[in-house]
């Protein structure tokens, strides 16, 4: 369940920093590669990293080492020093074999999304990844991040799967898919970077972002149609009668007066009527856009769900009967999230590449 009710409006400083890094021709080129990779690979529910989805390229350190190798080769050649040459060749050989080592530091790793938590638009949604190995190899220092975020490093050395908790930005209400996941490794020497961009076909529901809508309109409480049947609800205020005590029942409402008189154990019943129910009502917010209404409805819903009164929800073409409790709250939130979800703009390719709309 989403834990924070206060939608975060402040920008994430980490993301801002990463944006500033990704300018210039190099970043533009990287984006091109990613866009290409996005088109090329279909979405899947799980990936085993192998030749088909891994890329590999030297890092800045790798290129710098290449320069050092060249300088050593010059030194060895000019001084006719075979040993310096041999060392240059050894370094070159290390650089070359690191291509295999770095590739092997990801190849064979299986990645799937094990859990995606629903949440409010603008929040960070918990996304748990399951990493498992196919053979005996341990995977050191695997870095994972959703497009546009900072990486998290993990070592997969357990015989059974390891789990990594990341979070994705809920960019809008409705059903969203996570952006591309980057899995990368520079193990062992940081001379090369091996990476894969993965598109998962899982999706998650995002509730509207609650925006303060003021107090519930007074009409909302007695707008209920008069002919509706009284409904028995636990936790209501009005006393309606007695029933005999059943094992396991709370002692709170036991009529101790009757018990003291030796008439047996009775429990007081309380009753509430639908007429006094609260409604989160679409029509209470006339003249607003769809999303603006949903956001305010969401705010009311959260306030009511914290209270002890039962409440219902009315959306065009959909009514949720009044009730109370966590599952009711969830039903209402999902109804808001799904409301005309098919009319929402679909996620752009930019979202998959950058993690934002």
């Amino acid at each position: 369940m989403p834990s924070s009710l206060n939608a975060t409006t402040k920008k994430n400083p980490v993301l801002q920093k990463r944006d500033s890094i990704q300018t210039g021709w190099l970043a533009a080129w990287r984006r091109r590669v990613r866009r290409w990779a996005l088109k090329r690979r279909p979405a899947q529910s799980s990936f085993v990293l192998d030749r088909n989805n891994l890329f590999i390229f030297p890092t800045g350190a790798g290129f710098a080492l290449l320069l050092i190798i060249f300088l050593m080769w010059l030194l060895g050649t000019n001084y006719d020093n075979n040993l310096v040459l041999a060392l240059a060749f050894l370094l070159a050989s290390i650089l070359i074999s690191c291509i295999l080592h770095t590739h092997a530091s990801l190849a064979g790793l299986k990645i799937e999304v094990s859990k995606l938590q629903e949440g409010f638009a603008g929040d960070e949604l918990g996304a748990e990844l399951r990493l498992s190995r196919q053979g005996k190899r341990k995977y050191h220092d695997v870095r994972l991040f959703w497009a546009g975020q900072y990486p998290k490093a993990v070592t997969v050395d357990q015989a059974d799967a390891s789990y990594v908790s990341l979070s994705i930005n809920a960019v809008r209400r409705g059903i969203i898919e996570p952006p591309l996941l980057c899995v990368e490794s520079r193990y062992p020497l940081g001379l090369l970077r091996c990476w894969a961009w993965l598109k998962f076909d899982t999706s998650v529901l995002v509730y509207p972002k609650p925006i303060e809508a003021g107090p519930l309109p007074a009409t909302a409480s007695d707008e209920g149609s008069g002919d509706s049947e009284p409904v028995l609800l636990d936790g209501a205020e009005d006393f309606s009668g007695f029933h005999s005590y059943r094992d396991g029942e709370s002692l709170k409402h036991v009529s101790w007066k009757h018990y003291a008189q030796g008439k047996g154990m009775f429990v007081k019943d309380f009753q509430s009527y639908a007429d006094e129910q609260l409604w989160v009502d679409w029509d209470a917010l006339p003249g607003m856009g769809r999303e603006a209404r949903l956001q305010r409805l969401c705010d009311w819903l959260l306030i009511l769900a914290d209270g002890s009164q039962p409440f219902g929800m009315r959306l065009p073409g959909q009514t949720i009967a009044p009730a109370i409790g966590m599952s009711h709250r969830l039903n209402c939130l999902r109804a808001l999230a799904n409301f005309e979800a098919n009319q929402l703009a679909s996620l752009s390719s930019n979202y998959y590449l950058e993690g934002k709309l």
Binding site: N82, L83, F89, L90, A92, I96, H103, K136, H140
Partner: protein, 681 residues
């Protein structure tokens, strides 16, 4: 607020360890105060990491660096030579420690470390130095690893372990590159080491300076005879240079020849213009088929002197080496690293047998006026008795044989008239005394004569079939010019101590005779065990030199010819690609082998087979779904399969709990296979 970069702790420790490993061997060749600079930098860096000090400001760093450079220039007196340049590089490597503001700085420091670690091989090319360089590379790589692995779950030593494995795995490919990667010669001239420690003898001879080499068993050069047969010791006179100028005590090169560079240029110019008689003689002699010769290859240790060594009357083929008129060899630059050359000697060739030019005759009969009067008087007395040149030589030899002792003791003669002092009062001495006295006697008798210094003998290594000549074999002898004979070698030492010439120096001192015990040779003796050990070590060194150090362009061509069957480009490229691919394929195979999917447990196989069959038509078990849930899900869509799938799942579960190998187990396997076939998806 800007964040201050913090280098990961393990990376810092590895960095400092690697730096120590890189610096230590260089301290043999560079000023020791650099060690103090390093200590300062390390101390400062550690205090910064602990948060006690601030990182040094520019105001401190720049003057500090400038002071260090100035100190370097002061201690060397120049900057453009090998040692100061390497020291400068090392200084940059040390001072960079004060400036680690980002990961990039750390990387730069480590990369510089690779370069600095390889410079130590410019000073020493021993196996130990090379292995040490590889070890310091491994340390640097460990620092690289520690810097790049963010998850600090592994132990401190994990980095070193992994980088060692990577290094070892890289060696086969490095060997391929080493042998096949085409060599090109030097691209431009580079400052060479000026050899602060010159070895061997100098370009002059005075009493005492050859005898002090007798304690030095370091190798001077090694000789590989083409016929691989042990040569006769007494014929092994390795001529180095001839000294014809005498001031009464000290033998030197003639005045005009003392600067090696000028001498080289002068001879080179002369030889370009004219063909000298001595050259023409030798060339025509070499062309004759009947001339006997000996072929050999000399691998010379760095001597930091320009002359090479060869047996009597040799022709040497090597780059930038000149033949001098006295049939010796002068290299353009001092031999500052191991040097390999081919030589062919013609022992029976008569040098300048026709005539001796007047200036040469004058130079080789000149004695300073008034010095060593008694020796001159003695020689003139022989001469006036009407003796021939040969008779005079014989007189001198007989004199030495009768009354003189071969000795290492008491080698410093009186300042005034040292030859008289030697001939008439001390009567004991080392080879340089005999050579000097003999030439003085000859010149006084008007026979052209000169002193030759070089090495005599050597130690034969019977296992590896080569001759090791060490500094202790240094020797001085004489050459006299006789009509018809030309320049002829006369070794007065052979008259005094013939065993020295016949056995070679090392074996000579191993003997036990009273003359050896009394004359200072016994204390140079080594235990036979030590000698044996030294010989074996030297054999390893020799193989190292002949296989690794001297593998140059020419050797590579021979290698291509032998192994690849030719030197065409396509062969080289194909060999390079083929061999590297093979090596990399081996590594890839090993990596794949370690990551290969493990075979599932036997009792799970039937269930997995079913999953495979279902997956083929698009039914995949979700993570976290039990087999029962999975089959129920499918049954929802294909009610016709419900019974079969349910039975199969049940049996597959039963299989988990039946002991493997039992009859029941076998039966279950068979039933499952049958059932699986009857499920039609």
């Amino acid at each position: 607020m800007s964040l201050i970069y913090q280098i990961p702790r393990p990376a810092l420790w590895w960095l400092l360890l690697a730096q120590a490993a890189v610096i230590l061997p260089l301290m043999q060749y560079l000023p020791l105060w650099l060690l103090a600079v390093w200590a300062l930098c390390v101390g400062w860096r550690i205090q910064v990491v602990r948060g006690v000090f601030d990182a040094p400001k520019v105001m401190v760093k720049v003057p500090l660096a400038l002071c260090m450079v100035a100190a370097l220039v002061l201690s060397y007196g120049k900057l453009f030579a090998l040692e100061p340049l390497v020291a400068l590089l090392l200084l940059a490597f040390l001072l960079k420690l004060l400036e680690l503001q980002s990961q990039r700085d750390v990387l730069l420091l480590l990369l510089l470390g690779f370069f600095v670690a390889s410079t130590q091989l410019l000073f020493s090319t021993s196996i130990i130095a090379f292995l040490y360089a590889i070890i310091s590379f491994t340390f640097l790589m460990a620092a690289f690893m520690a810097l790049h692995t963010a998850t600090a779950t592994h132990s401190f030593w994990h980095s070193l372990k992994t980088s060692s494995v990577i290094t070892l795995q890289a060696i086969p490919l490095a060997l391929v590159l080493f042998f096949i990667m085409p060599r090109i010669g030097s691209l431009w001239t580079v400052p060479l080491s000026d050899g602060s420690a010159k070895t061997g003898f100098s370009d002059s001879m005075e009493p005492g300076n050859i005898s002090q080499l007798s304690k030095d068993y370091s190798p001077a050069f090694r000789v590989d005879f083409t016929d691989k047969k042990a040569p006769v010791q007494s014929s092994l006179y390795w001529r180095g240079l001839s000294l014809s100028s005498f001031d009464g005590r000290r033998w030197e090169l003639p005045f005009q020849d003392r600067d090696d560079n000028i001498r080289y240029r002068r001879i080179a110019q002369e030889q370009k213009k004219l063909n000298y008689d001595w050259q023409v003689d030798f060339a025509s002699y070499r062309r004759k088929d009947s001339s006997p010769y000996i072929d050999y290859q000399v691998m010379m240790e760095a001597s930091f002197q320009p002359w090479l060594f060869a047996l009597t009357t040799a022709s040497v083929t090597a780059k930038d080496v000149l033949n001098t008129p006295d049939y010796l060899f002068l290299s353009k630059r001092p031999v500052s690293q191991r040097f390999l050359y081919q030589a062919r000697s013609y022992p029976e060739f008569k040098r300048q047998s026709q005539s001796l030019g007047p200036s040469e005759r004058y130079q080789n009969t000149l004695l300073p006026k008034g010095s060593n009067p008694r020796a001159s008087a003695l020689a003139q007395q022989w001469r006036s008795a009407g003796d021939s040149d040969r008779k005079v030589i014989a007189n001198a030899m007989r004199l030495f044989q009768r009354e003189f002792t071969y000795s290492l003791q008491d080698t410093l003669l009186s300042e005034l008239n040292p030859v008289d002092d030697f001939l008439f009062s001390r009567k004991r001495g080392y080879c340089e005394h005999y050579a000097s006295a003999f030439v003085v006697l000859m010149r006084a008798a008007d026979i052209p004569a000169r002193v030759v210094i070089g090495y005599q003998g050597g130690q034969w290594n019977d296992e590896e079939k080569y001759l090791l000549v060490s500094q202790a074999d240094a020797h001085a002898w004489a050459e006299v010019w006789l009509p018809e004979q030309g320049w002829t070698r006369v070794d007065p030492t052979s008259a005094v101590a013939p065993e020295r010439i016949e056995l070679g120096f090392r074996d000579y001192i191993q003997q036990s005779s009273t003359s050896i015990e009394q004359n200072g040779f016994a204390e140079l003796r080594q235990s036979p065990l030590l000698m044996q050990l030294q010989m074996q070590l030297d054999a390893i060194n020799y193989s190292w030199q002949s296989w690794v150090l001297s593998y140059d362009q020419d050797q590579q061509m021979i290698f291509f010819q032998k192994v690849l069957g030719g030197q065409e480009h396509w062969r080289i490229v194909a060999a390079l690609m083929g061999a590297s691919t093979f090596m990399l394929a081996l590594l890839a195979l090993w990596l794949w082998w370690r990551a290969r999917p493990e075979a599932p447990a036997a009792e799970l196989v039937p269930w997995l087979e079913l999953e495979k069959k279902l997956a083929a038509v698009g039914w995949n078990r979700e993570p976290g779904e039990t087999p029962q849930q999975f089959t129920l899900r499918i049954a929802g869509q294909r009610p016709d399969l419900e019974v079969l799938l349910e039975r199969y799942t049940k049996m597959a579960y039963t299989l988990l709990y039946t002991p493997i190998g039992s009859d029941q187990h076998q039966q279950l396997l068979k039933d499952l296979a049958g059932l699986r076939n009857s499920i039609r998806v």
